[in-house]
Every structure is written in C-alpha cells, then in structure tokens.
Symmetry: none
Subunit: 230 residues, 2 copies
DNA sequence: CGGTTTTGTAACAATATGATGACATGGCCG
DNA sequence: CGGCCATGTCATCATATTGTTACAAAACCG
C-alpha cells in the first residue's frame, strides 16, 4: 500500500537493545529500516543503499556519530540526507556542536519515542513529500499522492500504476536526473530484476499520458545519463 | 560578511521583551529581522517580503502560532519556508502536534538562546543555495551535476555526454592542468583504449559548445602537458 | 628563417543510444 | 471463462555521439 517505494531510514546505534526499540517503532511508522552497529558500517551502508534519512547515535566506539555526520556532510552526494543526532550529552555546547557539524536535528536521550518519530517524519517530509500525502506540483502538473490522481492544467490524467510511481519520483525532485538503475530501484523495487531498457518504454508511456490532452513534453532525456522532469 | 544577500528571518512573538532579546541575537547572527507581534501581521509580512525562515511563537492572542503555521504550510508558495516553533508547552502531545502541523523544528521555552541560534542556522543552511545542490561555478560558467545542466551567463548550453564529463572534470579543479592520459582515465574510464589524440578532438568540441553563444574560450592549451580550465 | 613538433579541426564511417510499435504473458474482475 | 488492462521484452528505426584520420595551422627551437 506504499504510494511509491517505502522510505528507508538508516539507524546507527551501537546498543542493540535501543536499536531494537527504535527499529520496531520506525517500521511501524512505515520505514524500511537498515541497521548499523558502528560508524564504519554506517558509512558503507550509505553507499550501498542510499537511505532517505539517518538516525545517528553520538556515542559509539571507534568512529563517533559526530565524525560520521561530519564525513557525510562533506560529501556532495550524501550531504543532503537529513541526519537526526541522538545523544545523552545534554550540555548546550554539545547540542550546538552537533548542529554545527551538519546535523539537521538533535535529540537528547532519554528521548520520547513518539517525539523522535515525529521528528523523523519532519525530515522525511522534506526529502520525500509524497510519502506523507503532500500534493506535488510542478508547472501545470499536480500529483495527489492521497487520491492517486494526476492533473494537468484542469483536466485529470489517466496513468497506469507504474507511470504514477515514475512521475512521483520525478516530482519529488524536479530537474534531477535519475539513471535507469535509480529508477528501477525506486519505482520497481530493490530486488526486482527487469531489463533497464524497460524504463525507456515506461518513460514513453508516461510521456504519452502526460500529453494526452496536448501540452509540451515535460520530461527531458539526458543522453547517457537518464531522465529528468523539466 | 554578508553572503549573496543578507538572510531574512521573520520573528513572530507577541511579548515585546522576548522579541527584543531574540531580535538582538538574530541580528548578531547576521540576519535581517522582520518583526510581527501577532499572527495576522505575520501572514501579511510573509507576502510582502518573503523571509528565509520564520520563528513563530505558539501562544499568541487571536491567531495562534500553530494556526499561522498551518496556513503557511498549506500554501504552495510558502510551504517550503522553514518554521521554528517556540512554545512553553512542554507536553509531548503539544510538541508532536507542532511538528505534525508542519513546523520544521520545535523549541521549548525557556530555551537556550545559543541553541535556538544554532537551530536557526540549521534551517537557513537548508534554504540557501549551498544545500539545494552542489553547483560548480567558474567565471560565468555554471555546471549542475544533479540536473546535468550547464549554463553560460544566462543561457543553457547543449553538450554531449563526453563533453559534459570533460567539463565536470575541469570544473572540479579550475586551473589544474590535466594530461591527455589523465583525462582519458577520468573521462573515458580506466580500461578503455582510445587514442590520446581523441582528447584533442573532444576538447575542440567542448570549446565549440562553450562558445556557442559567444564568449571567450575558457580552456587553455598547455603545450606538451595537456589542458586546463582558466 | 627553415625544420620539427604539437595542436586544431573538418569529414566520415562506425557505434551507441533512445524512441516506438508490436506482441506475449499474466493478473484481475465481472 | 473471457475480456481487459498493465507489464516486460524484443525488433526496428532514427539519430546523436564518437573515434579516427588526414591535413592545416600554430608553436617552438636552434
């Protein structure tokens, strides 16, 4: 029943018990949870399967959370992943240091699980608005994730399920170029094997659907790279 | 020390004394501060002079902060302005309600001024170009890796895939001289065999693309060594 | 100023890439 | 069961991109 593909959270916490509790709750929130018990693993997992958001414990043996945060925020390709830092350090200096390092939020242990979930949703809302039902708009195209309806101008468009998910992805980040592989991950699912040329065909179908009542083609083919909206 | 333009914060708080303190500190942080003493004024001021971020007191006579927040988050044109909610209500339900309403952060009174400033900077960091995407710039050339677009002045350039990768390489380290072999490695790939003279041809093509709308040739040939940008 | 080396570039053939129509499959619903 | 829709794959077509070569131009050197 996921509108598009399930949002992914990377949970980094060295204490297994705490990790369990959080993982359970995050799953209940609708996240797919990827877990790491230390900083090194976290960095590896980010490359392997880019998460939508990261929840990061400050205190960890070896690579501290703050160091992981610093590194991720230095890399252009991971910089924009929201990081929520968890910490038992309640001192003002620490909180400020965490935020200065690039963390997008800072939550003090012991935290309220409900509040943490709410803060996770806030970050998710930023990165993937459609997962929480925000209507996406671009130019004269409107996509309502709740009702699964797409409008262009003032007429309703008819799209198939795959085309809908494709368009959702594009509208999450207008202008961004998605490779066929990224689209397969996002639109089809991680462990589905389909030929990457299939993407072409669906792009074609999406184009036809978007132009069924006239109007310009809003999709851009980027030779050698993929496709983008606008 | 202002960046491109001074960031603007809209400060909404009905208690003049508190507002003063915050305004003072925000100005010290480098913000231009626009003040409102109630919700109605806040909504008017947003239209008049769109702020980069909003700091919003929950408890206000007439229009409450949460209502202002709700309204701003419903309008597509103001939805993306980050809102930091200030509140004396420490109850979990309230905090969650604030976040659910669309606030991007929720700070409990009495707050640490320094922490609030840090949180304001976090929100600002998001809105400012630096976070929106890493754009490489040199002179009047702009290259956006995310959208795969290249601009010169204010017109869009059309480049082929190889030319794009070439230019990306140059723009990552403007001024650096790259040998043909290094370029082959970097742009074509480590284990591809192509004549090194092919680089010349592509440099030529890149030059033509870069000058398609007039302008100087930004590439420099270094005899016996290779090529460089600028 | 030759002679030599290095670079620029037009032309062309080979290739890679994307668009599209057709088709077979499989699920779903009446 | 039969029709309908969505989907994935394939074959084919059109075109953009690419590598190479050959020759012209420029730079360098004594």
């Amino acid at each position: 029943m996921a509108h598009t593909s399930q949002p992914v959270v990377l949970l980094v916490e060295d204490e297994p018990a705490q990790r369990e509790v959080l993982a359970y709750n995050l799953e209940a929130e609708g996240f797919r949870v990827v877990q790491a018990g230390n900083g090194e693993d976290a960095l590896l997992l980010v490359d392997e399967d880019t998460p939508d958001i990261i929840i990061l414990d400050w205190m960890m043996p070896e690579l501290s959370g703050i160091e992981v945060c610093r590194r991720l925020k230095m890399r252009p390709d991971t910089r924009s992943i929201p990081i929520i830092m968890l910490s038992a350090r309640a001192e003002e200096v620490d909180r400020i240091r965490g935020l200065e390092t690039g963390a997008d939020d800072y939550v003090i242990k012991p935290y309220s699980v409900l509040e943490l979930m709410a803060r996770a949703r806030v970050q998710l809302r930023r990165v993937r608005p459609s997962t929480i039902g925000v209507v996406l708009e671009w130019d004269d195209i409107r996509l309502d994730p709740e009702t699964h309806r797409v409008y262009r101008g003032n007429s309703v468009l008819k799209l198939g399920p795959t085309e809908f998910r494709l368009l959702s992805t594009f509208m999450e980040k207008p202008g961004r170029v998605w490779s066929r592989e990224q689209l397969l991950d996002r639109v089809w699912g991680r462990d589905i094997y389909v030929d990457s040329r299939t993407v072409d065909v669906h792009i074609g179908r999406l184009r036809k659907s978007l132009m069924q009542n006239g109007g310009e083609d809003p999709l851009r083919t980027v030779r050698g790279a993929g496709y983008a909206l606008g």
